[in-house]
Amino acid sequence: MLIEQLINGLTLGSIYVVVALGYTLVFGVLNIVNMGHGEIFMFGAFMGVVVTNSLELPLYVAFIIAIVVTAILGYFLERVALRPLRGKDGVSHLAPLISTIGVSIFLENAAHHLFGAGNKPFRTSFSDMSFTVGTTTVYYVQILIFVIAILLMAGLMFWLSKTKAGKALRASAEDLSVASLLGVNTKRMITQTVILASAMGGIAGILVGLAFNSVNPQMGLSFGLKGLAIIILGGLGNVRGAMAGGLILGLAETFVVAYGASGYRDAIAFIAIIVILIVRPQGIFGTATSGSRG
């Protein structure tokens, strides 16, 4: 029982991590909370439904298509909602937040019209395949989700710390104008980051579809809000913080459901961020900066 819940929690947590990483990347470089990320993620999940259910193609095709579609959406989001605001005089720092809210509303309702309002099942050939160790049942899907999440995290860490592009991204996160002076093409860097974050959202979308077997237009909102909560928990723009925050939230939610108060499951994330913001505004793993007072 305990181990089963632990596995469920880790599965949920690793999905949250992948969602939260998308927010963290964009915030790290642009200092912008991308409210449209949840809806891009939801489009990724719907791509999975379309490919595996309607077209009856294998799962890996779903991953590829979801990544491509969400990357394109990310590109448009950057072009339409973020780029026009950059470097403009008299634009408040809240403008990008609000314009990405606009994108999220647009995408959510577009999904309503394109895919319908109800739940769509996400059936794959090995959704129900499981094996039993002792008394605990483990689904292959859970292992797949966990492995993909770990690969993504490790890949991202490696990319950020070891490659030239990762270095450029970290330099841009540190200071956009200085990075630009030192020869980083920051404009391209920003676009790349948003596209990368969105593609990770697409992957997360398929993972959620696999884990919960259902996809609907509202899920962008609920997962998106939790992703936001996680990056605040872990410290805005902090990649390691997002990983830890996601796993903590996944485990916490699973155990709250397992031990009674299942109705309050969705409130945990927000109660946690309200407490965190009051007690430790830089997040659990964030370093003390003037960020929260900026």
């Binding site: 994108v103 409130a267 927000f270 913001l277």
Partner: protein
């Protein structure tokens, strides 16, 4: 004659537009000190539930219920305002968003008080209360040639019109007072206003409390206008909708959110055919506004221009032209 002019359906829409104006003003007040709140739907729901529960379960008179609900929500706003002081910009937006979600989840789960996700029905209706009241004092709607439902819609509309005008009048007066100037200065530059001796803590919390009070008041009115509330009436979309009034109309002057509320709430009624795509249009509109006119449609310049063209007209009429002679 009067009875043919009054269409309850249009009156109802007009009443909801007035309600949205009050909500627009409520978000304007918190924005006036530079605080972006996404928790106004939460405040609205607190007001709605407080008044609904008081009048239904405890037989509190309707007017008293609405007043208590507004004051209570204002107090909640003040309590939330203290931790909110430590947060700025994006952090405040997300924290208030979280607050709204926590309130919603609380109302869904607190079933013996709020009836959970099913919601509360049969809340005393504002118009029907007025009808029984006027019948008690011996006034029949038939005396004006009105049917009962026409009288109800008309009464609600007129009451809301009076309330809305009073609210707008109050905050225009406030804007020209010590408090309004303090708000404006805090919005411009917090450190500088602090150096000038403005008590930032006091005014920011006051603004938050005022905004919450007004949102709670609007929520209570909403409960008694629809006679039915459920937690999903006050979700994230409602919070964003309230914010859009201020974003679209502009948050620099009070007429901005008022215009935004009127325009955006009458839009789906005027364009019936596109009402299905209303939220998609909203979304595109927000992106468009941020890119091309981030301060909203109505800002200081527009107001000055309107004033100038008005005074020019006056000068032309009377032919004094005193300004040109100076």
């Amino acid at each position: 004659m009067l009875s043919e002019l009054i269409n309850p359906y249009y009156l109802q829409i007009a009443s909801f537009i007035l309600l949205n104006i009050i909500l627009g003003v409520s978000i304007y007040i918190t924005l006036a000190t530079g605080q972006l709140s996404l928790g106004h739907a939460g405040f609205m729901s607190i007001g709605a539930y407080t008044s609904a529960i008081l009048t239904l379960n405890h037989n509190v008179p309707l007017v008293l219920g609405i007043v208590i609900a507004a004051v209570f929500t204002g107090l909640v706003g003040v309590i939330i305002g203290f931790p909110a002081l430590r947060l700025h910009g994006v952090y405040l937006a997300i924290a208030t968003l979280g607050f709204g979600e926590v309130i919603r989840v609380l109302f869904v789960n607190w079933e013996n008080l709020t009836n959970g996700a099913i919601g509360i029905a049969n809340i005393p209706h504002l118009g029907r209360e007025i009808l029984t009241l006027s019948k008690d004092i011996g006034f029949e709607p038939a005396a004006l040639g009105l049917r009962n439902n026409q009288f109800i819609s008309l009464a609600v509309f007129l009451l809301l019109l009076i309330i809305t005008i009073a609210v707008i009048w109050f905050f225009i007066r406030q804007n020209n007072s010590r408090i309004g100037r303090a708000y404006a200065s805090i919005k411009m530059d917090e450190q500088a206003s602090e150096a000038m001796g403005i008590n930032i803590t006091y005014y920011k919390i006051l603004a938050f409390g005022q905004g919450a009070l007004l949102a709670g008041f609007a929520g209570a009115l909403y409960a008694h206008m629809t006679a039915y509330i459920s937690p999903s009436d006050f979700d994230y979309h409602r919070a964003v909708e309230i914010l859009i009034f201020a974003i679209f109309g502009g948050s620099e002057v009070i007429w901005g959110p008022i215009f935004g509320a009127i325009f955006l709430s009458s839009l789906p009624e005027v364009l019936r055919s596109v009402s299905e795509y209303r939220f998609m249009i909203y979304g595109a509109l927000i992106v468009f506004m941020m890119a091309f006119r981030p301060q909203g449609l109505i800002d200081m310049n527009v107001m000055n221009w309107l004033k100038r063209s008005k005074s020019k007209k006056k000068e032309g009429k009377h032919g004094t032209g005193s300004k040109e002679n100076q």
